[in-house]
């Protein structure tokens, strides 16, 4: 139930994003979700893709600094209060979120949220107990 996320070190200079995405494209990798956090000099690009291991190998071969991180993906109803309920489940158990990003599923009224927390096991238990739908790896990769 842990989803693999790629974290990629990208310097802030013209053409770097193009280079990274081109490597993924030429290895036939589909991007499922994306988030980028940046500072003045560099950013960390976080990606959920259909084949994380293959993407990792391709990026490493190109001498890009990259790592795989375990994250949690949940599905929440796309209406007001949907996200708030899921987050409360976590905060009730003092689980803090390092970062998160979300994307909509166009096929139905569901939003997917990627969560990075300190302790994945504890968070999964809390979400399960709170009846939040947790996505399986296969579900995410095959959207």
């Amino acid at each position: 139930m842990i989803i693999k996320q790629l974290s990629i070190f990208v310097e802030n200079k013209a053409g770097r994003m193009a280079e990274v995405t081109q490597i993924l494209a030429s290895n036939n990798i589909d991007i499922r979700a994306l988030s980028i956090a940046d500072t003045t000099d560099y950013g960390i690009l976080r990606l959920i893709v259909n084949n994380p291991q293959k993407a990792l190998d391709a990026l490493k071969t190109a001498s890009i600094t990259v790592t795989l991180t375990g994250v949690i993906a949940i599905a929440i109803p796309d209406h007001p209060g949907g996200l708030a309920r899921a987050i409360k489940v976590l905060s009730d158990r003092q689980i803090s979120i390092e970062y998160m990003y979300a994307f909509l599923n166009p096929n139905n009224a569901t939003a997917f949220v990627i969560l990075r927390v300190e302790d994945n096991e504890k968070a999964l238990q809390a979400l399960q107990d709170g009846n939040i739908r947790i996505m399986k790896e296969s579900e995410i990769y095959e959207i």
């Binding site: 974290s7 956090a37 560099y42 960390i44 001498s63 600094t65 990259v66 390092e98």
Partner: protein, 437 residues
């Protein structure tokens, strides 16, 4: 370690008093030789009131004026030669990245002495007639490659004159020839190790055991990194083209300083600002007098290299004085907000860190009236990408280390792997933007 081999027992294990006596005798002769054969020295020494008869002890060398790189440039190309062209057997020149190149000549005797000196230092480092050595210094006008070449031939090594560059082919020869020794700059040796790892051949196919690295500084930390990369023993050697080239001094296998070939060179250290001679053991600029050079003898040549000299006996049995690894160059020294900074200090602070690569770049800027130093390093460990806090921790660790070593606060920038420039010759790691507008 195997039994210690000494190439020239006579010269290298002479009693200290005998070394001093030989140096004094040669210095007296040299002063007369310079006055009689080089108009430049005739003029300089006459003006300073120095004659061969006035040199009574070795410390009288302090009355002789210094010779500088500018003196060589001003007399380009052959103005300081002491012999007619018929006696010249070879000519070398420095790269001349700033201004005119400096040109040096060698008589047949000079070349023989040079090869003997290189034979001594390569033997001291552990090379012998079983050695198959690849020379990855650029051949040509540069003294490094040919200097090592003839000395290594003299001790019976098999010499592979690869020159620098074309790394893939170098690696192929290394595997196929079972090359067991490498002559290169430290930065190129490190780059070759990186390429070897990536080329896909298992490291067991390489047989390097000994690195004879030189022509640029190498901190102990950088040396460790090269040794780990190749699984070889690395020694440092020193020389500058103006006084002959490599072979002036070199490390023995105990690596506690570089043994100076004192029968050919008289070395002093001076304070580069006040120019006063420092007592033995104090760190300063190395000044060299060539005691036996025929073609272009130099009196008290200012090397700009910072080191210190010790006369303590070495456990290897050699009695020659030793100089420390070069700490930096007096003209590489950066003055940042009044603090003296040598690139080698930055290197030793960085090289031990696991999360970053061994290459770095220093950028100096002037912002308003204050100088700033930026250090760029390559981030190689992906595991710190989990959280910004961990990335910041890497940056802060580097900052703290540099503050401890330099006493300065610097800006640390993380760069992608392989984004900083690599060098096949001497590395140029400092970009000083202070004079640009």
């Amino acid at each position: 370690m195997s039994k210690i081999a000494i190439w020239d027992r006579n010269a290298e294990t002479m009693r200290r008093a005998d070394i001093r006596a030989l140096q004094l005798e040669r210095l007296k002769h040299l002063v007369g030789y310079c006055i009689n054969n080089v108009p430049f020295y005739y003029e300089r020494l006459t003006k300073a009131g120095v004659t061969a008869e006035k040199i009574k002890t070795l410390s009288d060398v302090q009355y002789i004026p210094f010779t500088t790189k500018d003196d060589l440039r001003d007399h380009y190309p052959f103005g300081l030669f002491a012999v007619p062209m018929q006696k010249i057997a070879r000519i070398h020149a420095s790269s001349g990245t700033t201004g005119k190149p400096t040109v040096v000549g060698y008589t047949k005797n000079d070349l023989e002495n040079w090869a003997q000196m290189v034979a001594r230092i390569t033997t001291a480092a552990g090379a012998d007639d079983h050695t198959i050595v690849q020379i990855a210094f650029g051949y040509g006008m540069f003294t490094g490659a040919l200097g090592l070449h003839y000395g290594l031939e003299k001790i019976g090594a098999a010499v592979v004159p690869c020159s620098s560059g074309n790394t893939e082919k170098q690696l192929m020869f290394m595997r196929d020839f079972k090359t067991n020794a490498l002559v290169a700059t430290p930065s190129y040796a490190l780059y070759m190790a990186e390429c070897a790892k990536e080329s896909g051949y298992p490291m067991e196919q390489y047989h390097l055991r000994l690195g004879l690295l030189g022509s640029e500084g190498c901190t102990p930390e950088m040396r460790d990194r090269i040794e780990q990369g190749w699984g070889m023993f690395v020694t440092d050697n020193y020389g500058l083209s103006e006084v002959c080239g490599p072979g002036m001094s070199g490390e023995c296998q105990l690596r506690c300083g570089l043994h100076i070939n004192e029968d050919h060179f008289l070395c002093e250290t001076i304070n580069p600002q006040t120019l006063e001679v420092l007592p033995v053991g104090e760190t300063g600029e190395l000044v060299v007098t060539t005691l036996t050079k025929e073609a272009i003898p130099l009196l008290r040549y200012r090397t700009k290299d910072i080191t210190k000299i010790t006369e303590e006996p070495c456990a290897c049995g050699r009695t020659t004085a030793r100089m420390d690894k070069i700490k930096g160059r007096s003209d590489d020294m950066l003055k940042i907000r009044g603090v003296n900074v040598f690139p080698s200090q930055v290197e030793s602070a960085l090289v031990g860190m696991q999360k970053i690569g061994p290459h770095y770049q220093l950028i100096v800027r002037r912002e308003g009236f204050a100088d700033t130093l930026e250090v760029k390093v390559e981030l190689v460990d992906g595991s710190v990408l989990e959280k910004f806090a961990e990335l910041e921790a890497v940056q802060n660790e580097i900052k703290n280390r540099l503050r401890t070593v330099l006493g300065l606060s610097v800006k640390v920038t993380l760069a992608e792997p392989k984004s900083l420039e690599r060098f096949t010759g001497k590395a140029r790691r400092v970009i000083d933007l202070r004079n640009e507008h």
